[in-house]
């Protein structure tokens, strides 16, 4: 008998393996469309009670038992099923214990051993179910219900989990150890199973469940706070939309200032550097080097064939800025070129009533004339009007300039 059972079990598991892909499709998508399956495969799976048809004409669904097996094996976090039916488990224990006692009383020890093994199985299964439920709960807590998208859904999931924890705890309260002890009576083996073992399992589970409950409450609080933030912001915007002139009153007159608004004025400004501190010299030099490289180099670097001794000096700034006096000189030159008539610099100065004093004006004219390219200088001629110094030979005092086209 048991050999036959064994054989058919193995055949069944092998069949499951052979149709693994179909089963996983059904697991992931919730159902398999009927037409995708071979007729014989479909019949086989339906007959084995792996798949079932919830209503006529519907797609095929995976049976709960197979789904639970997969959820457990895959540690799927979507698993929300928690079995909290302690009462029926307790009833089973009670019945089996009575069986054992009766068999022992009548001297049918072989039967009593079978019942006892059965009871042990049920007890272990009960503990296992509880631990499984707790594991499922923790799995969900630990990823903070990450498998649902929105905050509201998370809050609902959390509420479901809390109700499951309460149901489990309520179920555990049904276990009354005095009753079980009485039931076990004198039998040492029953007492061992029903009292000692069960007590250990229950106290572990109760403890874990209360921790889980605390965590769930904390999470719920956090979710609500997060949702509260969004609402706070939206509420504020709505409020400002309705009352655009609303100004919150500063609470600073109140004798007790709320901590929130007690924010002092900034007091500290950056310190200045001390160039006389020799200990800081390396840092300062480094900073200086960075400042220099930060300036864009205006001159292309040239390699000198025969470099002189290197002296560091700031490169002379070449500044070309339009200055009014130079523009005046240019217009003076242009006037001469346009008219073709020689005009003395002072005459022009007077005619245009230029604001600069005559000496600067003359210097500027000479300077600009000298600055002209040679080809232009050939076409223009500059005559210096003046006289040599009466006492010191070699000195010539310029009184005026005459500029004319050659």
């Amino acid at each position: 008998m048991s050999d036959e059972l064994r054989q058919s079990g193995i055949r069944f598991l092998k069949r499951l393996g052979r149709h693994a892909e179909t089963i996983m499709d059904a697991y992931l998508q919730g159902s398999v469309p009927e037409h995708l399956l071979d007729a014989s495969v479909r019949e086989r799976l339906l007959k084995d009670r792996v798949l079932y048809r919830p209503e006529p004409g519907a797609d095929l669904h995976l049976r709960r038992a197979v789904r639970a097996l997969l959820e457990e094996a895959l540690r799927d976090t979507r698993n929300r099923q928690v079995d909290a039916n302690t009462a029926s488990a307790l009833a089973t224990f009670r019945m089996l214990a009575e069986h054992v006692k009766e068999a022992r009383h009548q001297g049918r020890h072989a039967d009593a051993d079978v019942y006892l093994a059965d009871l042990r199985d049920h007890l272990y299964a009960f503990g296992e179910t509880l631990q499984h439920a707790i594991r499922v709960l923790w799995g969900r807590i630990n990823n903070e219900f990450g498998y649902v998208g929105t905050l509201n859904a998370k809050i609902r999931e959390n509420e479901l989990a809390q109700s499951q924890v309460s149901a489990l705890l309520d179920g555990l309260e049904l276990v009354r150890f005095e009753e079980l002890a009485e039931l076990a009576g004198e039998s040492r083996e029953l007492r061992q199973l029903l009292v000692t073992n069960l007590q250990r399992t229950l106290s572990d589970c109760t403890q874990e469940l209360s921790i889980a409950q605390a965590r769930l409450l904390e999470l719920l609080g956090r979710f609500r706070e997060i949702r509260g933030r969004t609402r706070l912001l939206k509420g504020w915007l709505l409020h400002m939309e309705q009352y655009p002139d609303y100004r919150a009153e500063p609470q600073t007159r109140a004798s007790e200032l709320p901590r929130l608004f007690n924010h002092a004025d900034p007091l500290l400004a950056p310190a200045a550097l001390n160039v006389h501190d020799a200990t800081q010299e390396p840092e300062l030099l480094e900073i200086l080097a960075r400042v220099r490289t930060a300036q864009p180099s205006e001159r292309p670097t040239q390699t000198l064939a025969d470099a002189e001794a290197l002296t560091l000096s700031t490169p002379e700034a070449i500044e070309i800025r339009p200055s009014p006096i130079r523009e005046a000189v240019t217009s003076y030159l242009c006037a001469i070129i346009d008219s073709g008539q020689p005009v003395s610099a002072l005459e022009y100065h007077q005619r245009e009533s230029l604001p600069w004093d005559t000496e600067s004006w003359l210097y500027q004219v000479i300077g600009d004339y000298e600055g002209l390219p040679q080809s232009h200088k050939d076409r223009l001629r500059l005559d210096l009007i003046g006289e040599p110094h009466p006492h010191y030979s070699g000195n010539f005092i310029i009184r005026d300039l005459n500029l004319w086209l050659t």
């Binding site: 933030r229 609402r231 706070l232 709505l238 409020h239 500063p250 007690n262 900034p266």
Partner: protein
């Protein structure tokens, strides 16, 4: 080099907010009661103290407040209150925009990363977000005159970084982190809500239900 204590004191006196995101070492330092007493003792000489906000167990953000409030201090605090109230609306508007554009459940809080490029693409693709960003960037807090999403969003992020609401840990990357100052903002709104009895949450919920109807 300054010790952590020195750095913390310096930052506090500059008016900075110290949170885990902006200065993790300093934040951890201030979590320890003994350290905080030392800093308080130092700041006490300048009529300052450390103010911490957050839960009892772990305070999320620290800043520098006054020990004694005289007339001058009250004036400063009052001015700051007005400043922050003026920036509440633009900031709330911006926080909602970020939340909605990124499709998140919650508006940014301390430590929330924001990728400028990602946000920009999302906003550019949705006319409603574009309009919202345009409105936000024209608030006086940001004061943008630009018409393009690119310039507007960059300006908004730049201003928020200057004001200490965001930090940019790596200057080569356009990834910003929200600081504890944002959490401070929620506290301010919550406080005004409670003090003035505005019932903002209820109002928002009512509006959502109205929309659903």
């Amino acid at each position: 080099m300054l010790s952590t204590k020195g750095q913390v004191i310096e930052r506090l006196l500059r008016g900075a907010f110290i949170c885990r995101t902006t200065d993790e070492d300093g934040w951890r330092f201030l979590q320890v009661a003994g350290n905080r007493e030392q800093v308080d003792a130092y700041l006490g000489q300048l009529n300052r103290l450390v103010v911490g906000l957050g839960s009892e167990r772990e305070e999320a953000v620290f800043f520098c407040g006054y020990c004694q409030l005289g007339e001058d201090e009250r004036r400063v605090v009052g001015q700051q209150f007005r400043d922050i109230c003026q920036s509440l609306t633009p900031l709330a508007d911006w926080l909602i925009l970020v939340q909605e554009a990124l499709g998140q459940d919650a508006p940014p809080t301390e430590g929330t990363p924001m990728r400028l490029g990602e946000l920009q693409t999302l906003i550019e693709d949705t006319p409603a977000f574009r309009e919202q960003l345009g409105r936000i960037s024209r608030y006086r807090l940001f004061n943008s005159a630009s018409e393009t999403v690119d310039a507007q969003i960059k300006l908004v992020f730049k201003r928020l970084t200057e004001l200490g609401y965001l930090v940019r840990p790596n200057p080569d990357k356009q990834i910003y982190l929200a600081t504890g100052k944002i959490d401070y903002l929620y506290e301010v709104i919550r406080f005004i809500d409670a003090a003035e009895g505005l019932e903002l949450e209820k109002r928002a919920e009512g509006a959502v239900q109205g929309e659903l109807m």
